[in-house]
């Protein structure tokens, strides 16, 4: 926040009542102007939402941009179905329903992918089923991968172990409490570059890790069912169903 930055410019470092009074004044001023700026921005955003309400409801890309504008201001237009934003945009139900459907797909697929699945695959499954959602009183099939990620972020604030993780350029949804650290994510990213498959050797080549470290991470992923083992003519490789499936012709965002 602005108040913080001001402090770094030497305010509060000098001693003396005159300086500290000035410091307090400046702090108060900058806090006040920060508040004013935020209020002005809120007004702008609210106006924007009112003016472009139907576009926000109908166009997933614009919707995403709008949400991105709101986030730094701490505005959450999806927070409730009722209240100001709920009445204005009517999007609360949509994200809630989407989150429920996405969660169902994730849970149903756990036995084959260990509880990690790409947003792209979830979208594909829902599209194939022809799933529709109510958005602002209309039935729609038009939603984006970003919408899915947003819906999941709503779920995680409600608890339940659902969260999104980035693997390379993709977003995956994890629906199990398994703790995945950066080593695991790194391995999955490598798998993504190799059609869903890695070996201990390829992991070590790319990361310079010890054999022990590579194996430890791979074994965890295997034990969780996120990786399956392929033993072919004496060579062991690890395949990730969630990454492998992503390589199938998925529809676009």
């Amino acid at each position: 926040t602005m108040a913080h930055r001001r402090r770094g410019v030497g305010v509060g470092r000098s001693s003396g009542p005159k300086f500290s009074k000035k410091a307090e004044e400046l702090k108060a001023m900058s806090a006040e102007s920060a508040m004013e700026t935020v209020k002005k921005l809120e007004v702008k955003i609210t106006d924007f939402a009112k003016k472009h309400k139907s576009e926000i409801q109908e166009d997933p890309a614009l919707r995403q941009k709008f949400l991105q504008m709101c986030a730094p201001l701490g505005i959450d237009p999806l927070l409730s179905k009722k209240g100001f934003w709920g009445s204005l945009l009517g999007m609360g139900d949509f994200y809630y329903e989407l989150a429920v459907k996405v969660a169902e797909v994730c849970v149903a697929s756990r036995s084959r992918n260990g509880g990690i699945i790409s947003v792209a695959e979830v979208k594909n499954i829902l599209s194939q089923r022809g799933t529709k959602f109510q958005l602002a009183g209309q039935s729609t099939k038009k939603y984006s991968r970003d919408d899915i990620a947003t819906a999941i972020s709503k779920l995680s604030t409600l608890g339940g172990g659902f969260r999104t993780v980035k693997v390379g350029a993709s977003t995956m949804i994890v629906s199990v409490p398994t703790e995945l650290d950066s080593d695991h994510m790194e391995i999955m990213k490598l798998a993504q570059e190799e059609e869903g498959c890695v070996t201990v050797n390829t992991v070590r080549q790319e990361t310079q890790w010890s054999e022990e470290r590579a194996k430890r991470a791979l074994d965890l992923l295997l034990s969780q069912g996120m990786a399956w083992l392929d033993m072919d003519r004496g060579v062991e490789s690890y395949w990730f169903p969630s990454v492998w499936k992503e390589g199938f012709g998925m529809d676009d965002a």
Binding site: L222, W228, D232, W239
Partner: protein, 187 residues
């Protein structure tokens, strides 16, 4: 069912499908998928018996992967245990050894228990409950059984399902002039 191009499941092109998984939970899923594949394949092509060393499913040439004989045994045992497979040949003994060599497995798309409940449900819906009678022939080839799991079923298999029902007290069998005219009275 008409013989048509069989649609292999996605997993059939997933290399690890051909390695029996070391992690138990994953292995369970894998065996379930293999069971489904075996049943669907044999039903689609109306093959009643799986001959272990001849089965084309164990090898995916395009993928460059195949199951070894230990893997195949595991899959076959799982199939048998599920009730969807039965060995047709028992032990064989030669002059030097007696070993259980199973090569021929009867494929049961529906287990006798499943057939029994399917038949009974059909009977209730079609008003045979409470004393209604139909013949064995009508069960596998009658007009009213279109789409039922036992439509076109092997008579021997059908009878096994009916035995289960009899055992449960849900029907009694009685002889007709010919075996296909044998009757079933439902309760």
């Amino acid at each position: 069912m008409v013989k048509s191009d069989f649609e292999f499941p996605e997993f059939y092109n997933f290399p690890p499908f051909f390695t029996i998984q070391p992690v138990l939970a994953t292995r369970e899923k894998q065996l379930h998928l293999w069971r489904e594949l075996i049943l669907r394949y044999h039903t689609a092509y109306k093959i009643k018996t799986l001959i272990v060393h001849d089965c084309p499913l164990w090898k995916n040439t395009n993928l460059g992967r195949e199951l070894d004989s230990t893997d195949i045994s595991i899959i076959m045992n799982d199939l048998i245990e599920s009730g969807h497979g039965e060995w047709e040949d028992l032990t064989t003994s030669t002059s030097t050894s007696t070993s259980a060599v199973h090569t021929r497995c009867r494929i049961l798309w529906r287990t006798p228990q499943q057939l029994a409940s399917d038949i009974y449900e059909w009977a209730q819906v079609h008003g045979f409950g409470g004393g209604g009678v139909c013949t064995v022939y009508e069960l596998h080839s009658g007009e009213d059984v279109h789409g039922m799991s036992f439509q076109g079923a092997d008579e021997e298999l059908l009878r096994r399902g009916l035995e289960v029902l009899e055992h449960q007290g849900k029907c009694t069998m009685f002889q007709g002039d010919t075996s296909s005219e044998d009757g079933i009275k439902f309760y």
